[in-house]
């Protein structure tokens, strides 16, 4: 094959390139900046990071370790750990960044690290490279792998709700629950805020895997009233969910609700939970008050072989969750199911037995080796304004109790509820269901209301008018001593010079009168310790109306344990359950140690 001449001449064209300026990047004399998205070394905003460890989990190279950092201030919702990257493992795929729930982790434009020491490739992002803050390149804004939006809960329409006491929240269906559960990262940070430290990541993971029964079993491990909590828990866990920094937390409560609701009756609960009940150990414990705390204590004591007797003053178990929570939040059959299950494994409840009246405290003490008091706060605070005793001025707690007993209470068509807690909102929403127009008067701002946000929103949806910064001055009565109107003054918020929360101050002269038929007071309750014998009362350490207890919920009297509202400040069911649960450990320790 002969060579063609063109093919010999034309290559020499290349020599022309000698005149061109070389396009060489003259590194290191001239540097080329990495691209705006370059995936270089990690940077972690130490303050933003909550140590959830998702980066460490998602890393397929096992390159990220969670380690303790000296001198790190750890707030709530923070595991106290921070990621450390082994650059001898990392592949800079940035999966960790894209799955960081808080967005604290990012990659930077820096990529240069050369060393003769192979052990020097461990990097604590953010601490070893604080200047990375300004070199961030790969961030997960809006491109995250995670879903920051929770599956919305289906509810009855506001107008529909006020027509009856039907349950407002409809619950997740299976698909919604699986999807919502799948959002969970399983870090377990939330358990820190749960008083009873329920195994939240475990049961959510079980739901995500489609194993609802296992989820129920895990829930019942330290909470016998899971379904109640699934409906009405104050869910402090969700406040510190890893997702809260940038989005909506996992619907932990609704998932618990979903899992427990899949169980139809107490037989099935027993089947699923399949508790190991120890043989009777011959010890006996009394529990005063069948509230959530008392029932919890009773359940776990019974499982541990104790002979448990619960004394309940009313005709139904459940305490506040029975009488204080309206039925549109917690239907009766749901509660019955749970209580029947407790009874079925050996919890004995003596109804209509008020200690101090039907049976003396001393008698209880004689029959039992330890006593757990969980009587709750039953006595409402008085408003302390004139006209409070008039007919038509009632207390929310009593009002709710009577309504839950399905008794009829005449409240007329214009109701004012005073207070901003959950009880106040419950009273207001119940009143709406009875057909009244409802106004809530609250001393402070809406954002200061201790009630749950969802509750406040729910109330507003149902047409409850919330009037914040309004301080009631006087209840005006008519000649029959019946409530006619309420006089209140608007208030302004005065910042606290000590740095506490602002205080309301009445604006002089800004007074209004609102015509009402009923005034419902809901500014708090306290306990009634009158049933306790004097000698015990003397020995018992009581601080601001609450019994002082130690970690095991043991009072200053060793055989006496206490929990619930009378011992903690949380004023919710899960707090009481935690007290009951912990008291079991205390009681066990106390009695069995005595044994030895």
């Amino acid at each position: 094959m002969a060579l063609n001449l063109k093919g010999i001449i034309s290559p020499y064209n290349a020599l022309k390139q000698a005149g061109r300026k070389p396009h060489t990047v003259q590194y290191p004399y001239k540097k080329k900046e990495a691209a705006d998205r370059y995936r270089g070394f990690h940077f972690n905003d130490i303050q933003e990071c909550i140590g959830c460890g998702t980066c460490s989990t998602i890393c397929q190279n096992h390159a990220i370790d969670m380690i303790e950092i000296e001198g790190l201030e750890v707030g709530p919702g923070d595991s106290g750990l921070r990621p450390r990257v082994d650059n001898g493992r990392c592949c800079w795929c940035a999966l960790c960044v894209d799955s960081c729930p808080t967005g604290s982790l990012s990659l930077t434009k820096d990529y240069l690290y050369v060393s003769e020491d192979p052990n020097s490739f461990l990097l604590i992002p953010g601490i070893d490279n604080p200047d990375g803050q300004n070199r961030k390149s790969w961030i997960s804004n809006g491109n995250s792998l995670l879903d920051y939006k929770r599956i919305p809960m289906r509810e009855l329409e506001g107008q529909e709700r006020v027509k009856s006491f039907a349950e407002v929240v409809l619950g997740y269906n299976e698909e919604e629950a699986r999807t919502e559960a799948a959002r969970c990262l399983g870090c377990g940070i939330c358990t820190e805020n749960c008083p009873v430290h329920m195994h939240i990541p475990e049961y959510i993971n079980a739901i995500a895997r489609g194993d609802d029964k296992m989820a129920v079993k895990i829930i019942y491990d330290n909470n016998p009233l899971g379904e109640t909590c699934g409906k009405v828990c104050t869910r402090r866990c969700e406040e510190i969910c890893a997702f809260t920094k940038r989005g909506e937390p996992i619907a932990i409560r609704w998932l618990k609700r979903y899992a427990t609701e899949t169980v139809e009756n107490e037989k099935m609960i027993e089947e699923i939970v399949n508790p190991t009940i120890l043989p009777p150990n011959g010890h006996s414990v009394a529990i005063i008050g069948a509230g959530p705390g008392g029932l919890t204590a009773a359940y776990y004591l019974a499982m541990r072989g104790f002979n448990v007797m619960v004394y309940e003053a009313k005709e139904h178990a459940g305490g506040m969750i029975m009488y204080g929570i309206p039925k549109y939040r917690l239907p009766l059959d749901s509660l019955d199911k749970q209580i029947e299950y407790l009874q079925s494994i050996g919890v004995e409840i003596k109804f209509n037995t008020k200690v101090g009246k039907d049976i003396s405290f001393d008698e209880i003490r004689q029959h039992h080796e330890a006593v757990y008091i969980g009587i709750g706060f039953e006595v409402p605070y008085k408003l302390g304004i004139t006209g409070e005793d008039a007919s038509g001025s009632i207390q929310a707690i009593n009002f709710l109790r009577e309504i839950n007993r399905e008794k009829h209470i005449e409240i007329g068509d214009k109701v004012v509820v005073i207070g901003g807690g959950n009880v106040a909102i419950d009273a207001a929403r119940v009143s709406r269901r009875l057909g009244a127009e409802v106004t809530i008067l609250y001393r402070r701002r809406v954002e200061d209301m201790p009630a749950d946000w969802e509750e406040i929103e729910g109330a507003e949806d149902e047409g409850v008018i919330i009037h914040p910064q309004a301080i009631p001055l006087e209840i005006i009565t008519d000649e029959n001593n019946k409530v006619k109107a309420i006089k209140y003054a608007n208030a302004e918020m005065i910042p606290d010079p000590k740095g506490g929360r602002p205080r309301p101050k009445i604006i002089e002269g800004d007074e209004h009168i609102l015509e009402v038929t009923t005034v419902i007071g809901a500014i708090g309750q306290e306990a009634d310790y009158s049933f306790l014998p004097d000698d015990i009362k003397e020995k018992l350490e009581i601080n601001r109306g609450r019994i002082v207890v130690n970690e095991d919920r043991q009072t200053s009297i060793p055989w006496l344990f206490a929990g619930g509202d009378i011992a903690n400040r949380r004023a919710d069911a899960i707090g009481a359950i935690a007290d009951g649960f912990n008291a079991v450990k205390g009681i066990e320790k106390f009695i069995l140690k005595e044994d030895k």
Binding site: P22, H23, T24, V25, Q26, Y27, P28, K31, K32, A34, Q60, N61, H62, D86, N87, G88, R89, C90, C91, W92, Y111, L112, Y113, V114, S115, E116, D117, P118, F121
Partner: protein
């Protein structure tokens, strides 16, 4: 044989200067890092500016670039290649996998820590390291050479037994001539 700069002999200074500016890489793409070598060696980053160039056979080379993970099967050849190289010789660990296994940390067929098997003078971080990083690695190596600190080969000779033990542990069938050159 390492010539300490502090010896002050003019010969040593010249030798180290020449060594520093003439680094021949044995052309052995042991892993995926080999893909960043063409850009490094060609017109865009032009490593030849530093006297870095490829060399076809280990006999002529100064630098063994371990471009990433080493499969056990390759390790055997790499050891052979390394031992054929003439003193002074240097090893550069290129990429994360040479440091602690990288993304193949759980693979049954790659060794994780290169310095157990070969004396590494410089590690370059990255997966994979950019050409700039590769050049930085060489600059670091040059600094070490000038300071007379790049003494991996000496370390290898002195601790040959230890290296052999590690090598034999992963290479099941050791059919290689012993290190005698």
């Amino acid at each position: 044989m390492i010539y300490d700069k502090s010896s002050g002999k003019i010969v040593d200074i010249i030798k180290n200067y020449a060594r520093k500016h003439s680094l021949w890489i044995v052309a052995y793409g042991t892993g995926c890092g080999a893909i960043e070598l063409p850009p490094t060696m060609t017109s865009r980053y032009d490593a030849e500016r530093f006297g870095i160039r490829g060399s076809a056979t280990p006999r002529q080379a100064d630098v063994l670039l371990i471009t990433g993970y080493l499969a056990v099967k390759t390790l055997k050849r790499v050891i052979r290649t390394y031992e054929q190289m003439q003193d002074p010789k240097y090893v550069i660990g290129f990429g994360s996998c040479t440091i602690n296994g990288g993304m193949y940390w759980d693979s049954y067929n790659t060794v994780k820590a290169l310095d157990r098997y070969l004396p590494v003078d410089v590690y370059i971080n990255g997966c994979m390291p950019r050409p700039e990083a590769v050049i930085s690695g060489f600059i670091e190596l040059q600094k070490l050479i000038e300071a007379g600190k790049a003494n991996g080969a000496k370390k290898y000779k002195e601790n040959l037994d230890w290296y052999r033990e590690n090598q034999r542990k992963v290479i099941k069938n050791w059919k290689m001539p012993d290190y005698n050159w």
